[in-house]
């Protein structure tokens, strides 16, 4: 205990090293415990639908009859309309209007009042709270809403709601407003609802739900209704769960790295302490202490420091975890009901926080405790044992062109090889984490860049109905801002599953032959051949089912089923959460030949493209539901990117701090141990600058070595993180990318850190009078 108090700096560093690991692990475990529980609760409390049937119209009698079925826990009619929130003459934002018949009795897809009345009148609207910033007005004020069929209409915002089931506006989701069927009328639309959302009794799997939905659809159709399509969401999965999964995965990886780095630092410190106290160890052994007793003293010391670090680290870890939960839930638009930790969190934390450092120090402790008494009590200041720096030190240190100062520094670096290796390891983990963060950032950046290189259009226009393709193209071709305009069709579609039922609803797009608008890279297969019929190229996100190239699938399009050959799979980042399929043509009976409900426009760089296109379409009587700009799509993707890379950077910096502490401590120990040696150098004529130079060479060499190791470690780690984040977000690994700038920045950081870490203890030592340095033991 007195040793701990005597070496306060070192003791504090050991505690800090363990505590940082505990904080990291504690944050992760807290976040994991709270997020998994609270995210499920947030989503499940909304009573998400087990299935959604899309019909022309859903009346109250149909809802009542479905609700009466024993398999149904709740049923409700809804409608979603894509509209515009008009902010200015040519300034608008996409607005999703959720139409609810009875705000007082919401049974499915619940949302909650966040202030104001929950029951809007026909000329009123409720706004989802995460959309408020985008909307720009508050409760009591008017907003202007327009749908393609009607004139803009002012609706008064009478309240805010919290809808945890939706991807929030901050994560790329649309602005969401809630209106009554009467509100639809005031906007110029029919007051009909077209979705029948049902919640089944019990916890059915998706397959169960699919099977039931098919039966239900058949029953509904037998009642005289036409079911256009059926959507069966994955049960208990929030639409933004991928973001959560990615975050938790990254947290786990970095948490383990932080603990291991902390462990390496503790091992370095304890090894140094053992070396410094070798004479005391010899004396203890000389007076009868056994190896086990000595090892027990040091292991007990580490355990004691571990307990202190736990006492500091656990509250901070929990606090950090809560902060992370708060940040994540803020993004996901969730509320936290309770930060209660699951029962396994604290015990696991204790085991990890005590176990990792103890495991890390067992070897040096046992090794030093076993040293013979004669060896450890004989010490004359500068060791005379074989310390030529080993083969690495000899090799590097014998280079003729190096100055002797550099030679000296290089050989000294390899003098305590195990410590050098541990220090190099600890710092390199920080470096690798930093490089991985930047590499992944570059990979995402390139993925986004490649995506928008492949999207060779600026506007994607969804029309209110199909128009003659020639009319569409003619209405735009004369605009000076337009380079090319293509008429496409887009339909919701679903593939039939082998076991019955249909998979996820995806967007089926029909580009004209020889389209110039898309050039997505093929992951597999090929694009269409000229005049090829009934061929599909899908993107990698379409995975329910995931058909292989060369297979034939049955696809439901607008209630018609037809067979299609899968000829290729392309890499495409956006395009909807369930994926996209490009069709070579459409079978008769699906679209109207020569018509299109979708336009893609490539501009020539003129800023007024959007407004001129809108104006021209309106003048030609073409109704527009929504226009997505490539720029907005890019911003949305980059928001996701920012979250991932930002999180990686935070964790990398934390680990780098632990590694940096390791370097500072390693250099401080190195200088302390060689105080007499440095005293001798000064005694034979070395100035402070010369001594500084020798020690700095050591520090910088360690830094450069750690950088090389970090560079090597970062390669598989980058591939892993880029693969995992890619698979989670876009269902395909990112194209492996490395950031030269990241490696260069880390080299500069670590060399600067090494220089400072070398300079501080050296300058402190050179302030000690030479006679005291020479007398140091």
């Amino acid at each position: 205990m007195r040793d701990l108090l005597l070496n306060k700096g070192r003791t504090l560093l050991v505690i800090a090293a363990i505590a940082v690991g505990v904080v990291a692990a504690g944050s992760i475990l807290t976040a994991y415990s709270v997020i998994t529980r609270e995210a499920d609760r947030n989503y499940l409390e909304t009573n998400p639908p087990s299935a959604i049937l899309y019909l022309e119209s859903v009346d109250e009698d149909l809802v009542a009859s479905v609700e009466a079925r024993p398999e149904i826990a709740a049923a409700e009619a809804r409608r979603q309309v894509t509209a515009r929130l008009v902010k200015g003459p040519e300034d608008w934002t996409r607005l999703t209007l959720v139409v609810v018949r009875d705000f007082e009795n919401i049974a499915v897809s619940r949302f909650y009042s966040e202030g104001g009345a929950l029951s809007p009148q026909d000329d009123e609207i409720l706004i989802e709270r995460s959309s408020l910033t985008e909307v720009g007005t508050g409760v009591g004020e008017d907003i202007t809403v327009a749908v393609s069929a009607g004139a803009p209409k002012a609706l008064t915002v009478t309240g805010l709601v919290h809808d945890p089931s939706r991807i929030p506006a901050g994560l790329g989701g649309p602005v969401v407003g809630y209106i009554t069927p009467g509100g639809l009328t005031s906007l110029g639309l029919e007051p009909t609802l077209d979705e029948l959302q049902v919640v089944t009794v019990g916890d059915g799997s998706r397959t169960d739900n699919r099977r039931f939905a098919e039966t239900l659809a058949a029953d509904v159709e037998s009642g005289g209704f036409e079911v256009l399509r059926v959507d069966v969401p994955v049960p208990v999965v929030h639409p933004a769960q991928d973001v959560m999964k990615t975050m938790l995965f990254l947290l786990q990886v970095f948490g383990v790295i932080a603990l291991v780095t902390g462990g390496a630092l503790v091992a370095t410190l304890i090894t140094a302490q053992l070396k410094q106290q070798s004479r005391e160890i010899g004396v203890m052994k000389a007076v009868g202490a056994r190896t086990g007793q000595i090892a027990g003293i040091y292991l007990g010391t580490v355990a004691l420091l571990g307990v202190i670090a736990l006492a500091i680290g656990i509250p901070l870890g929990i606090l950090g975890g809560r902060g992370f939960v708060s940040f994540t839930f803020g993004l996901l638009n969730f509320d936290v009901e309770s930060y209660r930790l699951d029962a396994w969190v604290i015990p696991l934390l204790v085991v990890a926080a005590l176990g990792v450092p103890l495991l890390a120090v067992v070897y040096p402790v046992v090794k030093n405790s076993r040293l013979p008494v004669r060896q450890v009590i004989t010490d004359h200041g500068i060791t005379t044992s074989s310390v030529d720096g080993g083969s690495a030190g000899r090799l590097l240190g014998r280079t003729r062109w190096l100055s002797r100062t550099a030679t000296f520094g290089i050989r000294n670096t390899f003098r305590t090889r195990s410590r050098t290796l541990l220090t190099v390891f600890a710092i390199s983990l920080g470096g690798a984490a930093f490089m991985v963060a930047l590499n992944t950032g570059v990979a995402w950046d390139r993925a986004v860049g490649a995506e928008f290189d492949a999207r060779q259009y600026d506007l994607e226009i969804q029309l209110d109905r199909a128009y003659p393709a020639q009319k569409l193209e003619r209405s735009l071709e004369d605009l000076p801002q337009v380079e090319t305009a293509e008429a496409w069709n887009q339909y919701p579609a679903a593939m039939q599953l082998p076991g019955g039922g249909t998979g996820d609803v995806f967007a089926l797009l029909t580009p004209p032959a020889g389209t110039e608008m898309i050039d997505y890279p093929l992951l597999e297969g090929r694009w269409f051949r000229p005049n090829e019929e009934k061929a599909l190229v899908i993107n990698q996100i379409l995975d329910d089912p995931a058909p292989a190239v060369g297979t034939t699938v049955s696809v439901d399009i607008n209630g018609t089923t037809s067979s299609w050959a899968i000829v290729g799979i392309v890499r495409q980042l956006g395009g909807g959460e369930n994926g996209v399929a490009y069709a070579s043509n459409l079978p008769l009976g699906v679209g109207t030949e020569g018509s299109a409900n979708h336009i893609r426009v490539a501009g020539n760089g003129t800023p007024s493209l959007l407004s001129s296109v809108e104006r021209s379409l309106a003048e030609n009587g073409i109704g527009v539901v929504a226009i997505a700009t490539a720029e907005a799509g890019r911003e949305s993707l980059e928001e996701h990117l920012f979250i991932i890379v930002g999180l990686l950077m935070i964790m990398a910096i934390l680990i780098a701090i632990v590694g940096g502490l390791g370097l500072i401590e390693a250099m401080s120990i190195s200088v302390l141990e060689r105080r007499r040696e440095l005293g001798v150098m000064r005694a034979v004529g070395a100035s402070t600058a010369k001594v500084l130079q020798v020690v700095t060479v050591e520090g910088v060499l360690i830094a450069v070595l750690s950088w090389v190791v970090a560079l090597v470690l970062s390669v598989p780690a980058t591939v892993l993180v880029e693969t995992v984040t890619g698979n989670i977000f876009i269902q395909t690994p990112l194209v492996t990318s490395f950031s030269g700038i990241g490696a260069a920045i880390w080299l500069v950081v670590v060399v600067l850190l090494a220089s400072v870490a070398s300079a501080i203890p050296t300058l402190e030592t050179t302030e000690i009078p030479v006679h005291q340095a020479l007398a140091y033991e």
Binding site: T384, D388, R676, V684, G685
Partner: protein, 267 residues
């Protein structure tokens, strides 16, 4: 032997008996008080000491008597609480730590009891180290000069070995070669034979004696018995004071001559 050893800048003669001997060490009223937990401890009190060029002086005394403190004063390794230390014409009190380090590198060759060779440098690199620090020898001449010095102490064949490969006596020879690296006028040795067997100690003392013959001034703290026979003068230190009448003649048969004004404590 090709090594060039000089008696030091400004030396007038190599003749120890000559009347124009240059003063190399001049301590006047030097006191050193260390602050301890129980108050001040006087390691050296009002000491006067004068040593001329070419002298071989032994400082003797019991453990804790202050002899190493005295040596530290005249090498600039420690600074006096009061009094003046002048060595080879330089008043050390006027110099900063860095200036003292450089001055020491050029003017004083140090030999320690435990050699204190840098374990990660080869023997020849250890000898070249002071030349690197002071840059007083041109780069191209450093290695040949170091080899000459190792030749002088008869271990040139060990030049490229690391210290750990040498015996204690060989290491001490290497340390003496290092002390001569910059051809300093003064060699200060702190118990250079304290860790050596009697045969090796004898050869090391012989080597130091040879240096005085080459014009160097050698001041040595020692516990060696019968040292008087090997040196010009013995300075005895007891309880931090330089005792009077302990120089020259007391050395017995081997003593060569008195040193002017030396060996007295100002009381």
């Amino acid at each position: 032997m090709t090594t060039h050893l000089h008696s030091g800048a400004g030396a007038t003669t190599n003749d120890k008996a000559g009347p124009s001997r240059r003063r190399v060490v001049d301590l006047e009223g030097v006191t050193k008080v260390y602050e301890t937990g129980v108050g001040g401890f006087s390691a050296l009190s009002d000491a006067d000491l004068a040593i001329d060029a070419g002298e071989f002086v032994a400082i003797v005394g019991k453990s804790g008597s202050g002899k190493s403190t005295l040596l530290n004063m005249l090498t600039g390794i420690d600074r006096p609480t009061s009094g003046v230390v002048q060595v080879n014409g330089t008043v050390l009190d006027d110099l900063s730590e860095n200036e003292v380090a450089r001055w020491r590198g050029e003017n004083v060759g140090l030999v320690f009891q435990f050699q204190q060779l840098m374990p990660t440098l080869t023997i020849i690199e250890n000898v070249m180290m002071p030349m690197d620090f002071t840059k007083s020898v041109p780069m191209k001449d450093r290695r040949p000069r170091a080899l000459d010095l190792l030749e002088l102490v008869a271990i040139a064949d060990q030049a490229d070995k690391f210290p750990s490969a040498l015996s204690g006596g060989q290491q001490q020879r290497a340390a003496i070669a290092r002390s001569l690296a910059n051809d300093p006028p003064l060699i200060a040795a702190d118990e250079p034979t304290g860790n050596l067997d009697s045969h090796t100690a004898d050869s090391v003392l012989g080597l130091l004696g040879d240096l005085t013959a080459a014009g160097k001034t050698v001041v040595m703290v020692t516990h060696e018995r019968d040292i008087a026979a090997r040196v010009d003068r013995v300075v005895t230190v007891a309880d931090g004071r330089i005792l009077g009448g302990d120089s020259l003649g007391a050395a017995g048969e081997g003593a060569k001559r008195p040193a002017a004004g030396a060996g007295e404590s100002r009381e």
